[in-house]
């Protein structure tokens, strides 16, 4: 029984801020940030957008493409490091809004930026095991970087939703194989009651991101007996523009394979949404028969990798919801730092 993606959808906030606008406030050198991070601008959520609202909209787009009744969704998993509540699941509101309650399993996932692919993995696994008909896995974040910190240039917002199923006639892309890789690596963390995360500076690159992503992809290729040249597209977790390019090069992928799913230069780092959103952009343009490799990364640290094969149905359904590159490139408005600081609640307000 082939199991895979029968519906996919993305949602991005419309607001953007350019790297120059942030750098100006902190007296930082914009050109060196842009070059060092390969990042030009990032998405900014409005005051009324959060992980739950972005997840609902991404899921509605996934449902439009799947053409199923939401009542048949047997599991809802939201992966995020910015769940709006410390205690109260995001998934219940998403499930209620799409009409999947009450006959449904639900959990929120956390694993830094890997939480989204975890939801996808578990939803896929449950369909494969025959426990549910359809499963929904979402990666969404509205992440924050401390003002002036390097993370402020990249921390962005967005969501991607995937409905997993086994219906041949609805199959957009089969998931042919998966592989996960993880170790205890303290590269990035946030303790309870801390508003902003902490990170290990340069330690976040080599021993964390590159070691884990490389380990996951090598393991995935070995397990599935495939090589980089077998894939039309590869999607990496993308905390900045440079990391996925460098990881791809180290592993033997070329820039054409990487670039379609590399949204970060104009989106920023959407954390749990990052590689899942890259996959939505790839499905928007992929042709039947294309092989796709996706690899997430979450600090702490771990990666989930998937091998997918795109099916004919992608051509019928891709236009049933807004495409990811359209949301990224066309439907945007630019903010000044003051508006941005207000929207991201970086200004302390008097009590009233």
């Amino acid at each position: 029984m082939a199991v895979g993606i029968i519906g996919y959808g993305a949602h991005l906030p419309r607001r953007r801020i350019k790297v120059e606008e942030i750098a100006k406030v902190w007296g930082a050198d914009a050109p060196s940030y842009k070059k060092g991070l390969e990042l030009r601008e990032k998405s900014v959520p409005a005051l009324d957008e959060d992980t739950i609202t972005l997840s609902v909209e991404a899921t509605r787009n996934a449902l439009a493409r799947a053409g199923i009744d939401a009542k048949d969704i047997g599991a809802v998993y939201v992966g995020s490091e910015s769940h709006p509540y410390a205690v109260k699941p995001s998934g219940v509101t998403v499930a209620e809004a799409i009409g999947a309650t009450p006959d449904c399993h639900c959990a929120d996932f956390e694993f830094a930026c890997k939480a989204g692919s975890e939801g996808m993995f578990v939803a896929y696994g449950l369909v494969k095991a025959g426990l549910i008909k359809y499963g929904l896995g979402i990666g969404a974040d509205t992440s924050q970087g401390a003002p002036g910190d390097a993370l402020e240039y990249s921390a962005a917002a967005g969501a991607a939703a995937f409905i997993m199923g086994a219906d041949d006639d609805r199959m957009i892309a089969t998931i042919d194989d998966s592989y996960s890789f993880m170790t205890d690596t303290p590269d990035f963390w946030r303790r309870e009651h801390q508003f902003y995360p902490s990170h290990g500076g340069r330690f976040t690159g080599e021993p964390a991101y590159f070691r884990t992503v490389t380990g996951a992809i090598k393991g995935m290729l070995e397990k599935s007996s495939m090589k980089p040249g077998d894939f039309k597209y590869v999607i990496f977790h993308q905390p900045n523009g440079k990391f996925p390019k460098r990881a791809g090069k180290q592993l033997g992928f070329n820039f054409e394979q990487i670039d379609v799913g590399r949204l970060v230069p104009t989106l920023g780092n959407t954390y749990s949404g990052a590689s899942p959103l890259g996959l939505t952009a790839v499905l928007d343009v992929a042709e039947p028969g294309d092989r796709v490799l996706m690899c997430s990364y979450g600090s702490g640290a771990g990666s989930d990798a998937f091998v997918l094969t795109v099916k004919d149905r992608v051509r019928e359904v891709r236009d049933l919801a807004p495409k990811t590159r359209w949301m990224l490139d066309e439907n945007v408005t630019y903010l000044e730092y003051g508006e941005y600081a207000k929207l991201r609640r970086k200004i302390r307000l008097a009590a009233h």
């Binding site: 419309r14 409005a46 005051l47 609202t53 709006p84 809004a97 009409g99 066309e330 307000l349």
Partner: protein, 131 residues
């Protein structure tokens, strides 16, 4: 608003569930017990389409406390495609593009929060369709 009261309205605020009169077809949102057009008491429940057009609009500059950080913002009445009308905030809109007949879609958004420790109220706001 107490959580229990907003909870009872989830079908309307989360899914835009309306009622269509079985006799005359009039859509009421929120659902009524008696049709205000023909007096019928039987209805079909359905989720309204999430697209529609602005019928009337205004700009709020001095809102109540829970919305104070957001002013100024637009509110309007939207006639949904396929029937039904609702009053809603209009988000992600520049005030000069706001006009009667503006095509909008309803997006899931935070409506307001009960201070720093209370519940977060979710629902829908209209945003212009730009595609």
């Amino acid at each position: 608003m107490p959580p229990a009261r907003s909870w009872r309205a989830y079908p309307q605020v989360y899914r835009l569930e309306a009622a269509r009169c079985k006799k005359c077809g009039k859509v009421s949102f929120p659902p009524r017990l008696v049709c205000n057009k023909c007096g019928e008491r039987e209805f079909d429940r359905f989720n309204m389409k999430r697209t529609g057009k602005v019928v009337t609009h205004t700009i709020i500059r001095t809102p109540s406390d829970e919305f104070s950080g957001e002013a100024p913002f637009a509110v309007g009445v939207v006639e949904m495609d396929g029937g039904g009308r609702l009053t809603t905030q209009i988000a992600d809109v520049s005030f000069d593009e706001l006009k009667i007949g503006l095509p909008v879609q309803m997006e899931f958004r935070r409506l307001y929060t009960e201070g720093d420790a209370g519940v977060i109220h979710y629902g829908h706001k209209a945003v212009p369709i730009r595609q």
